[in-house]
């Protein structure tokens, strides 16, 4: 669909697209079985960016809220232990366990982060979130090097989960589970010789992990720990990712999702205006499916909720008409972010 006419937003189709994903998905998506919350996140926040939260009935919205809350792992009833607390990504392992056999039922940082974002976006007041428990859950996952594992139940640790942990702490307005100093050291150690940032020290710089790192530094107010050289080097590295749309690494193909990952990184560094909006926009629209809605990573390939959401988020960053403003660090709309700020004030007065 890479013709001239495809340079405007298929708004109505995208709304329908997300609504379909909120209902039933085909069995070919079984590999997403443990991460269904992220699909809910892309769809709900996607609808919000489209200004179309009200396309969902109130009943649908409350169903989503109830479903997310069911995935919250509460403290161990017998021991009071909170290290497993957080949100699960689905009900796959969400069954009752005897207290001493419950080690497999635990939260996952990416699901906790995206679950909280869904709740905020739907205007929930987070009153049923066990904030203290979630913070303890975050704390249990930080490692000596400063990075985070995703879950207690055997999993890799890298920059993605540093970011998720920072988002959770920021949303809950409680940093007692997040050692900022150690996380900052980890991030700075992961800056490469080309000034991009990698998943862990010495790996190849990557657009997605650079976003995770910069957003974390921003959420923790640590951007000033970067030297001028590092900041200017990052701007250069990020801007050099633009071909028409953006690529994630040097000499890799362009991909719709980097219009967000790289775009948001530039926004955080106050340098997005130095990129070429028109080319970026044209590329993203080349990957739009005007008929059934959705965006894909490359033109004429399969759409999916992640690329659809990130395509829209990328367009929102450059001020595309018909899209709500998003907060690049947290990756939700400004509207949802304002709601979060309001909750913080409420919590202040309560305490």
């Amino acid at each position: 669909m890479n013709n001239e006419e495809n340079n405007c937003l298929a708004h109505r189709q995208h709304v329908k697209y997300f609504m379909r994903f909120l209902n039933v998905l085909p069995s070919s998506l079984s590999s997403h079985d443990t991460t269904r919350v992220t699909i809910a996140y892309f769809s709900v926040v996607g609808l919000d960016v489209l200004g179309s939260i009200t396309s969902m009935t109130i009943d649908m919205q409350s169903r989503i809220i109830e479903w997310i809350y069911r995935l919250q792992v509460e403290p161990n009833k017998e021991t009071g232990d909170m290290t497993a607390c957080g949100f699960q990504g689905s009900s796959t392992i969400n069954m009752p366990f005897d207290s001493e056999k419950s080690q497999y039922r635990c939260g996952h940082l990416a699901m906790t982060y995206t679950g909280l974002c869904v709740l905020l976006t739907l205007g929930d007041d987070l009153s049923r979130v066990n904030r203290k428990a979630l913070v303890e859950g975050v704390k249990a996952l930080q490692r000596e090097e400063g990075n985070f594992s995703a879950t207690l139940s055997g999993c890799e640790s890298d920059m993605r989960f540093v970011y998720c942990a920072a988002c959770i702490s920021y949303i809950l307005n409680d940093w007692s589970g997040f050692d900022v100093k150690r996380a900052t050291d980890y991030i700075i150690n992961s800056i490469g010789y080309d000034y991009g940032i990698a998943q862990c020290p010495e790996l190849e710089s990557h657009g997605g992990t650079t976003f995770c790192a910069l957003a974390t530094l921003s959420l923790t107010n640590q951007l000033d720990k970067l030297t001028i050289e590092q900041i200017e080097g990052l701007k250069r590295w990020l801007l050099f990712r633009q071909i028409d749309g953006f690529q994630g690494r040097p000499n890799k193909p362009v991909d719709t999702c980097y219009s967000f990952w790289v775009g948001a990184s530039l926004k955080i560094l106050d340098a997005l205006h130095l990129s070429n909006f028109e080319s970026n926009k044209s590329y993203v629209y080349e990957t739009q499916d005007c008929v059934v809605g959705g965006f894909s990573k490359w033109p004429d390939t399969c759409t999916d909720p992640m690329h659809t959401y990130l395509g829209l988020a990328g367009l929102s960053l450059i001020g595309e008409n018909g899209l709500l403003e998003i907060v690049p660090t947290l990756n939700i709309t400004k509207k949802a972010h304002d709601h979060m700020k309001y909750l913080h004030q409420m919590w202040e007065t309560e305490s």
Partner: protein
């Protein structure tokens, strides 16, 4: 490797297997308000109903170990299945060599899956035997030379077990095959930084190697970035290495307008200015001129960026004029 559906005619559901008749399956309880529901196949439901049942009982048996294989096949991204499988392997004292072989097969089917590589890493840690990791990642990188997971695993194995000996050769082959393979250039830096070190001699050798590659293909960001990386270890910086300077000026004279070359010369100017050295060749005037050339002609996608850079140099020139 998603749900293969119900097409397998030889498949006997767990609920029809006599040896599982003592187990009551545990269906997924998605509450009364499920959303983003996946329409799993009957096979998927059957396997996971039994998986939940053994997990809930924490049954440590051979049959449970076998069940995890079916569960992995239907969804290799289920990290709980893998964790449970590891717990079973330990409890049952299973031969970990055969497990290494098994996970290798799964990696070959799902090379971009985080959980399988994590499983592999834990096994190698348990066995303290990294002897197959270079081959495994090497094979993976042949079919996908930029696979991030494979590189991450490879770096981990090399660093943890000191397997640096032949790595430069491996990297060299990849770069020869595709001089634009940024992952390979990054690995080259990794080897130099951790193993061979940045002696003056090595810095010179790496500079020569890189310049040779740039001579071959000039518009290659990966090689230019690596050159900067090497020069971080040259006390004289970007601007003090005569070989690099004359190489760049030669390219420039021969009308090479690669943005990477011009950006490099701009950065040389910037460094010379910051050092406070007076230079006819590398002053703000030249930097400004190059920024403008990039903005107007040679790198128009980044016009705004190069104008932003140009303004910095212009401010310096204006400042100089007021004194």
């Amino acid at each position: 490797m998603s749900d293969s559906g119900d097409s397998d005619v030889y498949w006997v559901p767990y609920k029809e297997r006599p040896e599982w008749s003592d187990i009551t399956p545990v269906p997924e309880d998605d509450g009364i308000t499920p959303v983003v529901v996946i329409a799993h196949s009957e096979k998927f439901k059957d396997v996971y109903d039994y998986f939940r049942a053994v997990l809930q009982k924490n049954e440590k048996s051979e049959r449970a170990l076998h069940l995890t294989k079916d569960a992995v096949e239907l969804n290799p991204a289920n990290y709980t299945v893998w964790q449970y499988r590891r717990d079973l392997l330990k409890e049952l004292d299973t031969d970990l060599r055969s497990e290494l072989y098994y996970v290798e097969c799964v990696i070959k089917q799902s090379p971009k899956n985080y959980q399988v590589w994590h499983h592999r890493r834990v096994l190698v840690e348990w066995l303290q035997d990294p002897s197959q990791e270079l081959d495994l990642t090497g094979d993976t990188l042949i079919s996908d030379p930029k696979n991030y997971h494979a590189w991450q695993h490879r770096q981990w194995a090399i660093k943890t077990f000191g397997l640096f000996d032949n790595e430069l050769e491996f990297v060299d082959n990849l770069i020869s095959e595709d001089v634009r393979n940024n992952s390979a250039w990054n690995q080259r830096y990794f080897v130099m930084n951790n193993h061979l070190g940045w002696s003056d001699l090595n810095v010179q050798k790496e500079i020569c190697y890189t310049l040779e590659k740039i001579r071959f293909i000039k518009n290659n960001e990966s090689a230019w970035n690596y050159l900067r990386g090497v020069l971080l270890h040259d006390k004289r910086g970007l601007s003090g290495n005569a070989v690099v300077l004359s190489f760049c000026e030669d390219l420039f004279k021969n009308r090479c307008h690669s943005p990477y070359l011009l950006a490099f010369i701009i950065d040389i100017c910037d460094e010379v200015i910051k050092k406070g050295e007076a230079s006819l060749m590398y002053g703000p005037e030249r930097a400004l001129e190059l920024c403008k050339a990039l903005a107007d002609k040679y790198d128009k996608i980044r016009t705004k960026y190069w104008n932003y850079m140009a303004n910095k140099f212009k401010a310096l020139i204006d400042l100089k004029a007021t004194y």
